[in-house]
């Protein structure tokens, strides 16, 4: 080969994030020294972000099939059957490192990337969600990061035209130097019109579509596979810039040519851009691919093969078109003002060949590029189980009312209205349940079907006990979907952890994944897509283990979906599930007792299922009038949220004698819900509960404008709302 690229030195190999033994693997595989372009290709394909080399062996333990599953992990997104010939396509993905370096563009391109994953499969996006973890509010960068990330998510989704309907926001000092931005997108497609990445047929044209290729984002995937240090700001040039306008055009153009039957295979250019999309299409189709880089539309002059192969410029797609439809497809792309270029073809050789300026810059075995990526069974250790905290030893607050008022105005429990009002959550005209509830509900086309979405994880539980924490993340997501009346169908997981080369971090990963697997199996809630983000560390300090779970549920008639707001005065308030007053790792313990200690609440998956099925039945037969799941902050926080959402107050019975009052009101036992039912229905509901062996207790009645607890001062609902609504705007204005 005649190549004008520099010699490969050990330093150059190290700069590409490849270990000496990994480089040896490359030499063994190709039997010669790689060119610089080839080295770049290997570094892009074999970094943690693209190869899952540390996580793959454990991810195999996740359940990925089920009666609803059309496509599990391995494609651009997962696909489930929602009946009537329709399919729901969804995935969640992280954009953590870029969002810390440049919050607006980092978050925006995270949204853009995940939307592309969904419409690449032939689905029109119908909803976005996100799961955001920021550092402590007092950290000097937090305000800037919150402001930029939220504006970036909104800036992209609002302009693209997809409603951002839900998500979660948390604050903890363990994210100070490494925030998490996990974006989820959901799309709707016809079940028999799903598009995949696998190319087929020899000599088929490979077409490049969308925006031009520039020098932005080169080595982005490698950056996402390294730890941060004090100089991370210097990596800003590797963050891409998003163009939601181009993406909207790309969406419309792609859906139009798919509709016209022009497409054989399609793959979006995400991480590792042209390299990863071209090799995946070839490898999945058992074909070779030859690319002619002279044909690639470039934004800048003089780009090298190396740069073009590693660019992560946004809003680009690669397709294999039916040759006879080429002209028709091109006309559609021209109409939308997008670039369209034939940049290569499929070959029978199973080689990945890259040509530029008359030279062969890369000639590699296409399947081995992906399949022969290193796979590690990294050593891991599990920490000793933490002791269960006896509620009796946790100090009581000055008063339960004081504690509640404090808790609902803490960063994690306060209203996130300031965030979600910056997202267009109603575009599409199908948002039945807007942000702020347990799960968002979006009508499917003209109904009556609805889809429910939620994102969940409790990182402090995951750190204290990765296995229980993994279970809990799935169970809470399942519970949130159930609380609106949906039947949970499947999840996408976005696993954010520290450096997997540290046995204790690997232990967290392994434990969480096992917990997720256990819960998914028990709840028939398979994993259909996902993403792993490792090396979330700054100067050697890891984030809290944060396996975000994004769940999708189906409700046959969206008009039956339940909301958490109290509906009327004089209705009975029922607590479903067992309350033991579990304070270990609770928000109460952290915020009031200022201790982050103990074992997290255990998750009994049988109980989860029984209690959830019971609640769902009450919703679907219109017995339950309001429903809320219990999670962070426990029973009283949930009740306050139901009151604040409606303006209607309530009176409650005293805590049972056998529990400290603060453990009863603020304990975080799992598998619990609060429901309201009309007074006349109470006896029937209790009888049904007995028959189903579900624990139900009557704890109060709705009415008035205050929350009244026996022996406590009454709290005005309006005042609670003001506290809950006040914290975040006040903080962002610089007051808190």
């Amino acid at each position: 080969m005649t190549v004008t690229e520099p010699k490969i030195t050990p330093e150059l190999v190290a700069e590409h994030g490849l270990k000496p033994d990994e480089y040896q693997r490359i030499l063994d595989l190709i039997g010669r020294e790689p060119t610089l372009t080839e080295l770049g290709i290997f570094s892009a394909m074999w970094n943690e972000h693209c190869s899952y080399k540390s996580s793959k062996v454990h991810l195999r333990g996740l359940p990925t099939s089920g009666p609803h599953v059309i496509q599990g992990p391995g494609e651009n997104a997962g696909v489930i059957d929602i009946g009537d010939g329709q399919a729901c396509v969804f995935k969640m993905e992280s954009h953590n490192h870029p969002s810390y370096i440049e919050p607006y563009q980092g978050a925006a391109t995270g949204v853009g990337g995940i939307l592309r994953d969904v419409f690449t499969m032939g689905a029109r996006p119908i909803a976005c969600l996100n799961a955001l973890s920021f550092g402590a509010p007092e950290h000097p960068k937090t305000r800037h990061l919150v402001s930029g990330v939220v504006a970036g998510i909104g800036g992209y989704g609002n302009s693209f035209g997809v409603p951002t309907v839900g998500g979660s926001v948390r604050f903890h000092n363990r994210y100070d130097g490494n925030i998490l931005v996990n974006a989820m997108a959901v799309g709707l497609a016809e079940k028999d019109k799903i598009f995949y990445a696998a190319a087929s047929g020899v000599g088929m044209p490979i077409v490049y579509l969308g925006s031009k290729t520039g020098r932005d984002g080169i080595h982005g995937a490698s950056m996402a596979s390294a730890e941060f240090d004090d100089d991370s700001d210097e990596k800003r040039p590797t963050v891409q810039v998003g163009d939601p306008f181009a993406e909207k055009l790309l969406l419309e153009a792609c859906l139009e040519i798919m509709e016209k039957g022009c497409v054989i295979a399609i793959q979006d250019m995400g991480a590792a851009g042209l390299t990863s999309s071209a090799t995946e299409m070839g490898a999945k189709g058992d074909l070779g691919v030859t690319l002619d880089l002279d044909k690639v539309p470039c934004r800048e002059e003089g780009m090298t093969a190396y740069e073009m192969m590693l660019s992560e410029s946004q809003e680009r797609m690669l397709m294999v078109l039916k040759p006879e439809k080429e002209k028709e497809a091109e006309a559609i792309f021209r109409k939308w003002g997008l670039d369209f270029a034939i940049v290569g073809e499929t070959t029978p050789s199973k080689r990945f060949i890259v040509r530029h300026n008359g030279q062969t810059m890369a000639d590699l075995p296409i399947k081995e590029l992906g399949d022969s990526a290193p796979e590690y069974k990294r050593p891991f250790i599990s920490l000793e189980k933490l002791p269960t905290i006896d509620a009796e030893t946790v100090p009581a607050p000055a008063s339960i009312a004081d504690a509640l008022e404090h808790l609902i105005a803490t960063p994690d429990l306060c209203s996130k209205r300031w965030v979600w009002e910056q997202y267009d959550h109603i575009i599409g005209g199908n948002t039945v349940q807007r942000p702020g509830g347990d799960a968002a509900v979006v009508r499917v086309e003209e109904g009556p079907k609805g889809l429910a979405f939620a994102t969940d994880v409790t990182p402090r539980y995951c750190e204290a006990n990765p296995f229980e924490g993994g279970k809990q993340a799935v169970a809470e997501c399942w519970r949130n979907l159930t609380a609106v009346g949906a039947t949970p169908l499947a999840i996408t997981d976005n696993l954010n952890f520290g450096n997997p080369e540290k046995p204790e971090i690997m232990g967290q990963f392994v434990g969480c994944v096992r917990g997720i697997a256990e819960a998914c199996k028990a709840l028939d809630f398979p994993v259909v897509s996902g993403n792993v983000s490792l090396y979330n560390e700054t100067n050697g300090k890891a984030i809290l283990p944060t396996p975000s779970i994004g769940g999708v549920g189906l409700i046959a008639d969206f008009t039956k979906s339940a909301t958490l707001a109290f509906k009327a005065e004089g209705e009975a308030i029922l607590l479903i599930g067992e309350t033991t007053g579990w304070l270990g790792q609770s928000i109460y313990l952290r915020e009031i007792a200022v201790r982050e200690e103990g074992a997290p609440p255990p998750v009994d998956l049988v109980e989860e299922r029984e209690n959830g099925d019971f609640v769902r039945a009450l919703i679907l037969d219109s017995t339950a009038t309001a429903v809320h799941d219990l999670s962070d902050g426990g029973l009283l926080v949930a009740l306050a949220e139901m009151a604040m959402a409606s303006g209607i107050g309530a009176r409650f019975e005293a805590a049972p004698d056998d529990l400290p009052a603060h453990a009863y009101w603020f304990g975080e036992d799992q598998a619990r819900y609060v429901v309201t039912v009309p007074e006349a229905q109470v006896e029937a509901v209790l009888a049904r509960a007995r028959a189903a062996s579900v624990l139900v207790s009557r704890i109060g009645v709705t009415g008035g404008k205050t929350l009244a607890l026996a022996g406590e001062r009454a709290m005005a609902v309006a005042d609670l709302s003001e506290r809950s609504e006040g914290w975040l705007p006040g903080y962002m204005a610089g007051a808190a």
């Binding site: 609002n158 302009s159 910056q422 997202y423 109603i426 039945v432 008009t559």
Partner: protein, 233 residues
């Protein structure tokens, strides 16, 4: 009703608008591409929907206002044809000279999506005949640049001629800065041209036409238009 919904690159509420027109009038609107030079024959209502035409990378609506189809819209409006612009559509109508004034960034410099209350100032227009004067309706907004402003003389004229059709208000119809989320002058949410046949408004009545998805407060606008056009036909 024979409505034409304009489609510019980057517009994204055209499907919402088309669905609402269909739902309320029972008739399918025509979707008209920006590069076209003429409106479909027999068009009696032009709707410029919301979105981010051309990404709003230049001044909002500035590029769309110069599209070929806008020449057709200008002559349609000059003959008294009904034109409704919502959100980006309002911005496009201002930029194309069909309405006075301009929409600046929201006072708090953030995008805002929430339900707002609008006071309907007059009910004698085809756009507002479905409401009573003084009625308060709840409809959503979703914009980053909805802060209406014009020079003092123009505002005085708009006010003097009763051309302010919708104002941001409290739930009981009071004009109050606390309920004017974007800081628009005189809480202006929507205005008409001199002829009363071109309306621009920032809020999205098309997203509130069904009880189960929001409410039906936006329905009056479209039902009124359908009725007016039926009478005229």
């Amino acid at each position: 009703m024979k409505a034409a919904v304009l489609v510019f690159p980057g517009i994204n509420r055209e499907r919402d608008m088309a669905r609402t027109l269909r739902l309320v009038s029972g008739k399918e609107p025509a979707m008209v591409w920006h590069a076209d030079h003429e409106l479909p024959a027999g068009t009696d209502l032009v709707v410029v929907p919301g979105g981010f035409s051309y990404g709003d990378y230049l001044r909002c609506g500035a590029i769309a206002a110069r599209s070929p189809i806008m020449n057709a819209v200008r002559s349609f409006a000059a003959k008294g044809g009904l034109v409704l612009g919502v959100c980006n559509g309002f911005q496009i109508l201002c930029e194309s000279g069909l309405l006075p004034g301009v929409l600046m960034r929201n006072e708090n410099l953030r995008f805002i999506c929430r339900d707002v209350f609008l006071k309907v100032e007059r009910s004698d227009l085809p756009f507002t005949r479905g409401y009573n004067a003084g009625q308060v309706i709840r409809v959503p907004v979703a914009h980053g640049e909805g802060n209406y402003i014009a020079d003092g003389e123009t505002i005085a004229r708009l006010e003097g001629e009763g051309r302010v059709v919708f104002r941001y208000a409290s739930p009981d119809g009071m004009i109050d800065p606390n309920w004017n989320h974007n800081g628009a002058i005189n809480a202006i949410a929507g205005i008409v041209n001199e002829g009363g046949n071109v309306l621009g408004m920032m809020p999205h009545p098309e997203n509130h036409v069904e009880a189960i998805v929001g409410n039906t407060d936006g329905r009056g606008l479209f039902a009124g238009l359908a009725e007016a056009l039926e009478k005229a036909a």
